[in-house]
């Protein structure tokens, strides 16, 4: 079985702060990490390989420094790594991103594609299903568990708000992984060593079969009109109180707002 896992290098958004003077994002010194849902997807792929045998490839599209997450994936145990990087692919929205990734994944070859449910910088959850559409294969989003029958069928526990669907899908298909579906393994010292010995395949626009009108900024239907820091609603009253006094204060507030009589 050939499994391709899509991973993304993202800023650790828990570390992103707002400059209180200028109101802009402070990105300096914010560490880059492998997107958590993607890491869970990679772990799921490695577990399938450990059990049934498979070749696990990882692919990322991004700036040249995205190589770092590919090295991390190799150190965790991925077999092959592909970096798709080209100025012409830059500025892409989710549709243009999935067009480029789908073309690259076709070239690699696949039976199963795993992506994270969503990336913590964009939070869209769109690229996975869009890749599946471009490749004309089924997608199963929000995977909580993935099993394989050892032959040609994948069984996925798919999460909804109030229920799960147990879904059987024939390969090839695409699955998007929930970050809490497993605990990703650590890199091993041997893995780190071999990660630096493994050659990463670097592809540009000319290495994939795509239409220039469907990639990058040009091929993106959506445009960012503006971005701005989140405005907070103004603060109300703030007082320092304890115990009984505080309780009285809260009760009077609840009465004022007609929540209690």
């Amino acid at each position: 079985m050939r499994i391709t896992v899509c991973i993304k290098q993202v800023p650790d958004t828990n570390e992103v702060k707002i400059d209180s003077v200028t109101g802009t994002l402070i990105r300096d010194g914010v560490p880059s990490i492998m997107n958590p849902d993607d890491k869970a997807g990679l772990e799921a792929a490695l577990e399938l390989r450990d059990k049934y045998g498979a070749e696990v490839s990882v692919i990322t599209m991004g700036l040249p420094q995205a190589e770092e997450v590919l090295r991390e994936a190799l150190a965790m145990g991925a077999d092959k790594a592909y970096l798709l990087t080209d100025r012409k692919l830059g500025g892409a929205d989710t549709i243009a991103t999935s067009t480029a990734l789908a073309a690259a994944i076709s070239k690699i070859g696949f039976d199963l594609i795993i992506t994270g449910r969503q990336a913590i910088d964009g939070d869209t959850a769109q690229v996975g299903p869009q890749i599946a559409e471009k490749l004309n294969i089924p997608n199963i989003s929000y995977a909580q568990e993935i099993e394989f029958d050892g032959n040609d069928t994948i069984r996925v526990k798919r999460m909804y708000e109030d229920r799960y669907h147990i879904i059987n899908a024939k390969l090839p298909c695409l699955i998007t992984a929930l970050g809490d579906m497993n605990t990703p393994r650590y890199m091993t010292p041997g893995g780190i060593k071999s990660a630096y010995e493994t050659e990463i395949t670097v592809w540009g626009r000319n290495d994939i079969d795509v239409d220039d009108m469907q990639i990058g900024l040009v091929g993106s239907p959506t445009k960012v009109a503006k971005s701005f820091p989140k405005a907070l609603k103004g603060a109300g009253q703030k007082t320092t109180l304890d115990g009984e006094e505080a309780a009285d204060y809260i009760i009077s507030a609840l009465k004022e707002k007609l929540i209690i009589r």
Binding site: P11, T13, N14, V16, K17, I18, L25, D93, T94, I95, S98, I120, D121, D123, A125, P129, E133, N136, P138, N139, I140, S141, Y142, M159, Y160, E161, D162, R163, Y164, H165, I166, I167, N168, A169, K170, P221, T222, K223, V224, A225, S227, K230, L232, K233, A235, G236, Q237, T239, T240, D242, G243, A246, A247, D248, I250, I251, A253, K257, I259, I260
Partner: protein, 334 residues
């Protein structure tokens, strides 16, 4: 699809999500917003209702603002599955050429909408918290949080139609239901045929019925790291019960294993807009604020007077929750 004449596309369409023959709350919220957009775009509102034996639900969609309901009734649509839903929606879009299509940012909408956007080849903006219209240029302005809620971005889809967005549940206002409002009902045959993108739903496992969903509670007593332990949440539960509300929590409490993920408010949890939100021991990380700042009245209790939660609180109390909450419970009981 790319278009040279955006005026060839008309109408605001809403995907009316239903599960087990019950229309999801988000569908009414979308209709409320769609009505407002349609007025600005000088057009009307159409609900797309997909399912099996669901045609009787059309009148309910009309009450909440749909001028027209397009139904696709097919056994293949009984339980949500990506392919037949995407197929039916795509065919409706190609037949009726809407200018706007809205979906709920639910586990269904966030699977369906991207699949449709790739099939139609148009833009899709995820998880919007605000939608408006640039009337001069006849464009929808779709605003959404990014970078974990630190940044807001306004997105447009100038040259492709339809303009599509998924919308966060709990953010938009439903319209007041109007029994007199009727909709034209169109039965649409989507000619659904099994293909290689169909999967098999082998089983459906419902999650245990728990308390009321925090997204639907009018009053939330919400705990943060400062609550200190799973046991201390019992105190918050007691307060919530007295007030007729529910308990929710910040991400820290979920990560610590004190409460279940279902109770999490915030960017990676749920967006809530209760009448009253009591934040207990919550510092107010931006990701948390993103999920609750639209609440009617916010009361915050925190030891740290510089906690960001006070920036959004109507009533901020700098003090020790361990003395305040028991005292409050005692006084409310008497």
């Amino acid at each position: 699809m790319r278009t040279d004449n955006i005026y060839n596309f008309k109408g605001v369409f809403v995907f009316a999500e239903q599960v087990d023959g019950k229309i999801s709350e988000i569908s009414f919220e979308l209709l409320g917003k769609a009505k407002e957009l349609a007025e600005k775009l000088r057009t009307d509102v159409t609900a797309m209702l997909l399912g099996y034996k669901v045609e009787n639900l059309a009148s309910e969609l009309a009450r909440y603002g749909a001028d027209r309901v397009i139904t696709v009734d097919d056994k293949k649509l009984e339980s949500y599955m990506t392919e037949p839903y995407a197929d039916a929606i795509t065919k409706i879009i190609k037949r009726f050429n809407p200018e706007v299509v809205l979906y709920g940012a639910t586990t269904i909408g966030r699977d369906l909408a991207p699949r449709v956007s790739a099939r139609v080849f148009t833009g899709l903006t995820a998880d919007c918290t605000k939608l408006d219209v640039d009337t001069e240029n006849h464009q929808v302005l779709m605003t959404r949080p990014a970078f974990g809620g630190n940044l807001m971005a306004t997105i447009m889809c100038p040259e492709y139609r339809p303009q599509m967005a998924t919308v966060r549940p709990g953010v938009m206002q439903k319209a007041e239901p109007n029994d007199a409002h009727k909709a034209e009902v169109i039965k649409f045959d989507a000619e659904l045929k099994n293909n290689s993108n169909y999967v098999e739903i082998a089983d459906i496992i419902k999650k245990e019925a728990k308390r009321r969903d925090i997204g639907e509670a009018n009053i939330l007593v919400s705990g943060g790291r400062g609550v200190g332990s799973a046991e201390n949440f019992a105190m918050l539960r007691e307060l919530a019960d007295i007030l007729g509300g529910e308990v929710s929590a910040s991400r820290a409490c979920v990560d610590a294993g004190w409460v279940e993920k279902d109770l999490q408010v915030g960017q990676t949890g749920k967006t809530v807009r209760p009448t009253l939100y009591i934040a207990v021991g919550i510092s107010g990380a931006i990701q948390h604020l993103a999920g609750m700042e639209e609440s009617g009245t916010i009361i915050a209790i925190n030891k740290d007077e510089s906690a960001p939660i006070f920036e959004v609180a109507d009533y901020g109390i700098v003090g020790d929750l361990n003395t305040i909450i028991p005292e409050l419970i005692k006084k409310l009981r008497s």
